[in-house]
């Protein structure tokens, strides 16, 4: 399972490095969204607003949806799907590989967006650095959940359902992540929000390992 996961993750990351869709399309979109959020808050309110963490995670949600769609499309052509299906890859390994690649991509984009939050939304640097590990866990949980919901929406023509279908699953992650970031900026305790994100990450990884094969077979 681990060997399959590393093989799939390596393949997805190599494809992303070649196509640069995330670099030239998704990342600029996220930055533009942050700029617009900063403009909406205005120069006098941005540094004093409680909205910064929420806006960060709103942008992270948009970016996650685009990245999950991209991850689905890599396997999307029916000919590719059939050819790869006859490789008989372990579905749990495929899920872990796709979630790992997605998490690495989201971490890279998340780092830029966190820097953007400091620069554009005037979030405190110390609080943002303190929140960074919790952001990493939340983005990993979003990657795991996104990979699972992506498989659910993988059938051709169904990818537009991804935002609606994944919304109930994403909301607890986004709330926990936002609360953790908010607590870090306010100097409060983060651990309870960490626990929620970690439990959600473990739950989505376990669900993905168990269910990904079933969802693949339904394509």
């Amino acid at each position: 399972m681990i060997a399959t996961a590393l093989l799939v993750a390596g393949k997805d990351l190599r494809i992303e490095a070649r196509s640069r869709v995330l670099l030239w399309q998704v990342l600029p979109f996220g930055v533009v969204a942050l700029v617009l959020a900063g403009i909406a808050l205005g120069p006098t309110r941005a540094g004093h607003s409680d909205a910064g963490p929420g806006l960060f995670y709103l942008v992270a949600l948009f970016v996650t949806l685009l990245a999950v769609n991209r991850s689905i499309r890599i396997e999307g052509a029916s000919g590719t799907r059939s050819s790869v299906a006859t490789l008989g890859l372990d579905p749990a390994g495929v899920f872990l590989g796709k979630a790992l690649a997605l998490a690495l991509e989201l971490w890279a984009i998340g780092a830029v967006l966190l820097a953007g939050s400091v620069l554009l939304l005037h979030a405190g640097l110390a609080g943002t650095l303190e929140a960074a590990p919790s952001v990493a866990v939340t983005l990993a949980a979003l990657a795991a959940a996104g990979s699972l919901y992506g498989a659910l929406c993988g059938r051709e023509g169904a990818t537009t359902l991804l935002p609606a279908i994944s919304f109930p699953g994403f909301v607890p992650l986004l709330i926990a992540g936002e609360r953790a970031y908010h607590s870090a900026l306010a100097g409060g305790a983060l651990w309870q929000w960490w626990v929620i994100s970690l439990v959600a990450l473990a739950a989505y990884v376990a669900l993905g390992v168990l269910l990904y094969g079933v969802l693949e077979e339904s394509w």
Binding site: T4, L7, K11, R14, I15, R18, S19, I74, A77, S78, G79, T80, S82, S83, V84, A85, T86, L87, G88, L89
Partner: protein, 218 residues
């Protein structure tokens, strides 16, 4: 020894019968061509044999795996599928696609150079798959199957997009893989006009085999 054994095999999709009761036995190390018009059931037959669609009714055994209750994933590792659409990761190079397939199956990557040489793509090994012509993509698919060393080759319209030289090349390749012990099923709109091959030909219509001409005669 029979590699494929179907008795009244039915495959449906959304209530519509794609295969409507197919009886078929295919012996090992043979070449069989399924012909017929669009919608005859050729592709559905190949997809059933590849474990890519489920059996709705009847009995089916492929490479010793019972399709009604057996491990379809185990079967898939023993068959090679080449569809008429693109079958690869377009952003990866020719070689990277083959390395992925070899590693997924635990096959040695040392066979890749020989496969590329065999299909005439050695000089394009570092080219992204999306930059290949339709005929070259077909050859990449064949290299993918060579690297996989599949027991059962399932080729859906493999002659499409191939020029005369490519068709001759495919004829020679299929003759070689059958001689090497593989079993090959091909779908085609028309019976093969190959001078080299005289395969068993199944005429299909309406999801059924309506005529079965044995191989070895023209």
């Amino acid at each position: 020894m029979a590699v494929v054994s179907l008795e009244g095999a039915v495959v449906t999709s959304g209530g519509y019968p794609l295969l409507a009761g197919v009886d078929l036995v295919v012996e090992a190390e043979t070449l069989t061509v399924a012909t017929g018009p669009n919608g005859a059931g050729k592709t559905s037959l190949l997809r059933l044999l590849g474990g890519l669609v489920g059996l709705s009714a009847g009995r089916a055994s492929v490479c010793g795996v019972d399709l009604a209750g057996g491990d379809r994933r185990a079967l898939r590792r023993r068959v090679g599928w080449l569809g008429h659409e693109g079958s690869f990761y377009d952003e990866l190079s020719v070689r990277e696609n083959l390395v992925f397939a070899a590693r997924a199956l635990g096959r040695p990557t040392s066979s890749i150079d020989a496969a590329l040489e065999r299909v005439g793509l050695a000089s394009r090994s570092d080219t992204a798959a999306r930059r290949l012509s339709a005929g070259q993509r077909r050859r990449l698919g064949l290299a993918w199957l060579l690297v996989r060393r599949a027991e059962l080759w399932l080729l859906d319209e493999p002659y499409a997009s191939l020029d005369d030289e490519g068709r001759d090349f495919l004829d020679a390749l299929l003759a070689d893989v059958v001689a090497a012990g593989a079993t090959v099923l091909v779908s085609a709109h028309d019976p093969l006009r190959s001078a080299r091959l005289a395969p068993r030909t199944l005429a299909m219509a309406g999801g059924r085999v309506v005529a079965d001409r044995p191989g070895g005669s023209r």
